[in-house]
Amino acid sequence: MIDLSGKAAIAGVFESPRRDAPRVHPFALQMECILGALDDAGLTLKDVDGLCAASGDWAEGGSTMDVVELAEYIGIAPTYVNSTDVGGCSYILQAGQAAAAIATGLAEVVVISYAACPRWWPLSSPSFDPFVFPAGPGQYEIPYAPTLISTYGLFARRHMDLYGTTPEQLAQVAVTFREHAAKNPDARLRKPITVDDVLASPMIASPLHRLDCCVVTDGGGAVVMTSRERARDLKKPPVHLVGYGAAVARTQNSQIPDDLTTPAALSGPRAFAMAGVTPGEIDVAQIYDAFTITPMLALEDLGFCGRGESGAFVADGNLTLGGSLPTNTDGGGLSSNHPGKRGIFTLIESVRQLRGEGPGVQVPDARIALAHGLGGTFCSAATAILAR
C-alpha cells in the first residue's frame, strides 16, 4: 500500500465572509469560494482537473448529480470527481480521497467546494436524506417526527445519565467557542455569553437549549489540493495532509450504541496512525460543533480524554487558547458559520492556524492540526491531520 502521509498538500483555502447571502444561488457562492481558494494558491481554473462537492441537499442548490451541475456552472470538465455525501464531514472524507487520487496520479489539482444558503432558500421540496424519508429503515422512525436536534438530545441526555455530565458543562462548550468568535470579525455571533445565558435560552429539544445549537448561516468555502511537489512552489506555504481516516456506521436512532461510541472511534485512530502522531501532539483542533454535545463525544472517541470525561475536559478549559487543545479557534459552528455541512471549514481553519492566519484566536506557532467532522447525527466521521 502507498504511504499516503504527506503525499498531498492543501495549497489554497477560502471561506466566504458572507453569513447572509440573500438570493445568491449556492453555485454562485461556490464560484466565489473556488476562485478565492485558487487565488490563495496562486492557481487558476485552468489548472483544475479534479472537483469534489456534496451538495445534494435542497438548500445547497444541488441535485443528486450536483458535482456535474457544478462543473458545468463553473465552466470546467474535471476528469476526477467525488460527490460522496456522508453528511457534514463529507469534505474531510473528500480531502483524504483527493490525497489518494493525487498520490496515485488520478488527479493533479483538486478543488473541494461547498456552499449552502438555507437562510433564504425558498423551496420546500422534499429532501431524501435518511432523516426525513419514511421508507426502508426510516419507516420505523420518521413517522414519529424526530428532529435532528432531538436526536442529539438523545445522545446528550444519555451522556448525562451515564457519566454525570451536566448542562453547565455542555454550555461551557458554547461559551468557549463564543470567546473565540468574539475575535473573528466574520463570525455570525460575537457577543460573549455565559453559562447562565446558555441555560436561560429557550429549550429547543431537551436537554439542548437554543445556545447549545449552531448558528444558521448562508455560507461557503473551498479548498485546493495538489501534490507535495507542486505545492512547494505555489504562493502560500503548503499544509500537508499527513493523516486521514473515515467511517460510516448508522442512520437510525435505534442503532445508537449503548455507550454512545461514534464512528470517530474508527476514523480517529486511522488518522493518528497514518500521521504517526498521538492526540497529545495536536497543537490545534477544529472539531465539528453542530451542538454542544457534538464535539464532546468526538473528544472522547478521538482519545483526547477518556470515555465519559469530556464534560470535565471542557469545563477545565482545555479547549481555550491557553488550554491543552485549543479548539474551534474561529468560533466554530456554534458561533461563526454553519450553513448545514460545515466540515470544509474545519479544513480551512486548520490551514489558517498552521499558516498563522487565524481570523479568530491564533495558536502561536501551531505545527500539527486536527480537522474532524461528523455527518448526520454521529452517523459518519472523518478525521484529517494536517502539518506544515
Binding site: Y140, P143, P146, S150, S206, L208, S254
Partner: protein, 133 residues
C-alpha cells in the same frame, strides 16, 4: 397527541409488522440460526446474513433508555417526547413516550407499548408508563 402525520412507506419486508400493528401486536424479528432478536426489521438476519429472520410477538414491555422533549424546531404543535426504549427482549426501538409529565421522565422508567391510529393502513406503536412487574 399531535404531530404524527407522516405515514410509513410499507414494503414487502415490513408488511407483517404493520399488519400486526393494526391488530395491536408489536412484532420484532428473531434469527432462526442464533436465536437472537433484531430491530429494526430487515429481510436478512444481521446475526447470520444468509438467514431469513422470523417474526415473533414482543412482550411490548420495556424501559426508557434516553429521551428528548421536542419543544421547538417543529411546526407541529405541543411538545412531544422522542425516545429510545429498551425492550425486554434486549433490542432498542425509537418511538414516542406518551402520558408522562416531562419532570417525571427518567432513564429506567417502565413502559409498555400502545398503538396510535395514524390512518386506515397504519397503527403506530408508542409507549406509555406501566406498573413495574
Amino acid at each position: 397527541m399531535t404531530s404524527m402525520t407522516i405515514p410509513p412507506v410499507q414494503d414487502e419486508t415490513s408488511a407483517p409488522f404493520w399488519e400486526a400493528a393494526r391488530e395491536g401486536r408489536f412484532l420484532i424479528q428473531r434469527c432462526p440460526e442464533t436465536g437472537r432478536y433484531q430491530w429494526y426489521p430487515r429481510a436478512h438476519s444481521i446475526h447470520a446474513p444468509h438467514a431469513r429472520p422470523e417474526w415473533v410477538e414482543a412482550s411490548g414491555r420495556g424501559e426508557l433508555l434516553t429521551y428528548s422533549v421536542v419543544h421547538r424546531g417543529n411546526q407541529r404543535g405541543d411538545p412531544y417526547v422522542c425516545a429510545l426504549i429498551r425492550l425486554e427482549e434486549g433490542v432498542t426501538v425509537f418511538s414516542r413516550v406518551e402520558g408522562v409529565a416531562e419532570a417525571d421522565l427518567r432513564a429506567g422508567l417502565p413502559l409498555a407499548v400502545a398503538f396510535h391510529q395514524l390512518d386506515e393502513a397504519t397503527s403506530l406503536p408508542v409507549f406509555r408508563p406501566r406498573t413495574p412487574d
